[in-house]
Amino acid sequence: MTTLQNTVKRPHAPIPVGKLVLYAVLLAGAVTMLVPFLWMILTSFKSVGESIRVPPTILPAKWITVNYKEVISTLPMFNLYSNTILLIFFRILLASIFSSMAGYAFAKLRFPGRNLMFGLVLAQNMLPAQIFIIPQYLMLAKMNALNSMFALVFPGLVSAFGTFFLRQTYMSLPDDLGEAARIDGCNQWQTFYRIMLPLTKTALMALAVFTAVFAYGDLMWPLIANTDLNKMTLASGLSVLRGQFTTKYPLLMAGSVLAMLPMIVLYSAFQRQFVEGIALTGTKA
């Protein structure tokens, strides 16, 4: 009671030292996160010579925009953007649906062979991605499905990462919820769909972000699966700007900056969901 009165009487309490330290640390961290991003932008306005010069310059001696013009005229940006966005969309859809179901089943249901199957999921996470490239490529070649959106999505049809992640999420939800639902007459599917799934909103958001970032940055697979430049994603499309012995860095950076824009916009828009997610998953029985 006394504390309440105190806060009412002293609305402008001094900021505690702890909070100051907090801000300082967060800001310092933020600066280090920003440095490469700023470097990308600054380099994209430099000339080729200046971009590799030793000692390096920070601000461009002369701000030139020719790099952006050249990227736009050399690469089919519209197609690269749309392929990337579509790829992200499909991968998120597939990952969310299949991984939610599997994650729930592994966490809450008992059936023979469950642990063995979950072991398979874990095993896939333990293997390096490089060993899958050629076999998956050959599968697509046999299906005559190369050089298409399906080819791009193919490795992401199922997500071992997503399954593992959501399994952990479901394991942290109390079993009583399931019990209560069962008593009310729901079967397993309804328990999953109506009760459990909605509680994983924040986790699903996180999964969407990861899937998006991974699909966005994957360079090797789209390059190998699709030969037509118009069917590539942003990351693989930009890699053709690299020469054998030297790279026109300002060009590559200009392309990379352009490629980042949709991701930034997407993230900022969906960040709200992140924050709002607390309200729904925060309260528990």
Binding site: T74, A141, S148, N230, Q244, F245
Partner: protein, 440 residues
């Protein structure tokens, strides 16, 4: 919810505005994949539309390759050719996957490092008889070494495209500053050392860049001394001449202070240092000319001379320069083989080589056309490169190069790291590389 819709509109708007500026670079549509166009007829040479894909790895050479494609399609309007650039790092992985899956581009560049792999596995079409009956075309018009490079089991599997040699690049401004005369054909190994020392003393700038490098580095000095590393299935590491050449090149970095150290090269490679005016000289392969001339920092400030000769070679004149060359090849499993072979044939003609040279992409392989490359940058003494071809030594290779190459690198790196002496290194190489060569 609102912010989400806003975001979507933002993205849409961005994407649409970019579409207005740029747009698709290919003229073929077909959302269902390119299968439709290319599987039309097995040998489309009767006036039907054929689309060929042309795989390369250097974006600097794209304009040159497109010029060649344009020249060909002008005369053969039923053919359209799409040049596809893949970054060097990914090119071979992609090619290998494509080869396994039977989806190679119709025409692609082939490199000596990888050639044997593809030829010995029946991936490339035998083009030995491509020019039979042609009057002014044929393989006698190419340097013997290049033709040999792409011959396997007595048959030729690629049409030579270009060759490159190594020259001595020097920064005129730094030389002027130090008051040293520009390199010329009187230069020997000793002259190089003296000049580099003087430059370092007078200006404080590094005189010569001597990083670990085979093609642009020690292989040149080894052959200049009269030695060899690998040739005709035999090793030559453990000879006085080879040791002399190798020791000389390594000493340029380790025994003097006019070259950056290997640690410094890890921070910034020799090319970066030279282009930034941090080092006065380097051994430079001709393929670097176009990129260097694209860099306004160094353009106009440097020139090329022939490599210095060995002061006291164990055998021979003391002059050598490593050369290498690429070839065009086509796949045995291609769906448009007839059309591809026609284009391939064109690429090996004098006319095509002239176009190639004039584009400045690389030194065209057809004898007598190399002058066209010299016209690209008349302000440079590019003749040095063509002159070096007289002393050209083919970049050593063999069927098992991918196995002994890394061993050579690792062993010689240990000399740089100080864990092995030159004598110990060559002895080790003689044994280990010899063992691998014996398996061929």
């Amino acid at each position: 919810m609102k912010t989400r819709i806003l975001a979507l509109f933002l993205i849409l708007g961005l994407v649409l505005s970019l579409a207005a500026c740029g747009g698709s670079t290919s003229t073929t549509a077909a959302a269902g994949g390119d299968q439709a166009a290319t599987t039309a007829a097995p040998a489309g040479d009767t006036g039907e539309k054929v689309k060929l894909t042309f795989g390369i790895w250097d974006s600097y050479q794209k304009p040159g390759m497109e010029a060649l494609a344009a020249a060909y399609t002008a005369k053969n309007p039923n053919v359209s050719i799409e040049v596809q650039v893949t970054g060097w790092d990914e090119y071979w992985t992609k090619l290998e996957a494509a080869a396994s899956g039977g989806e190679l581009p119709d025409i692609f560049w082939m490199h000596t490092n990888e050639f044997v792999k593809y030829a010995s596995n029946n991936m490339l079409v035998d083009v030995t008889n491509l020019y039979d009956g042609a009057t002014d075309a044929g393989y006698s018009n190419f340097p013997e070494g290049l033709v040999k490079n792409f011959t396997y089991d007595g048959k030729l599997y690629g049409v030579p495209k270009d060759w490159d040699t190594i020259g001595l690049a020097y920064n005129k401004e730094i030389f002027d500053q130090a008051g040293v005369k520009y390199p010329d054909d009187t230069w020997t190994w000793d002259t190089l050392v003296e000049a580099a020392k003087t430059i370092k003393e007078k200006t404080g700038i590094y005189g010569f860049a001597a990083p670990y490098d085979d093609q642009q580095g020690f292989l040149n000095t080894v052959y200049q001394a009269g030695g060899f590393t690998v040739a005709d299935g035999k090793t030559g590491y453990n000879s006085d001449a080879t040791k002399m050449g190798l020791a000389y090149y390594i000493s340029l970095q380790k025994d003097y202070d006019f070259s950056p150290t290997q640690e410094q090269f890890a921070d910034a490679d020799a090319g970066t240092l030279f282009q930034s005016g941090q080092v006065a000289m380097q051994f430079l392969g001709s393929w670097n000319i176009t990129p260097y001339m694209n860099n306004e920092d160094i353009k106009g400030k440097f020139d090329i001379a022939i490599l210095p000769k060995a002061t006291n070679p164990v055998s021979g004149e003391g002059r050598a320069s490593i050369y290498n060359g690429l070839a065009y090849a086509t796949s045995t499993k291609g769906k448009n083989q007839a059309a591809a072979l026609e284009f391939l044939k064109f690429l090996g003609t004098k006319e095509a080589n002239i176009i190639h040279g004039e584009s400045g992409a690389a030194i065209p392989a057809f004898n007598g056309t190399s002058e066209t490359w010299l016209t690209k940058f008349p302000e440079l003494n590019l003749k040095a490169y063509t002159d070096m071809m007289d002393y050209g030594i083919q970049f050593p290779g063999s069927k098992t190069k991918s196995k002994w190459g890394p061993i050579e690198k690792q062993t010689i790196m240990e000399v740089y790291n100080g864990t092995l002496t030159v004598d110990e290194a060559v002895a080790k190489l003689e044994t280990e590389v010899g063992a691998i060569l014996a398996t061929e």
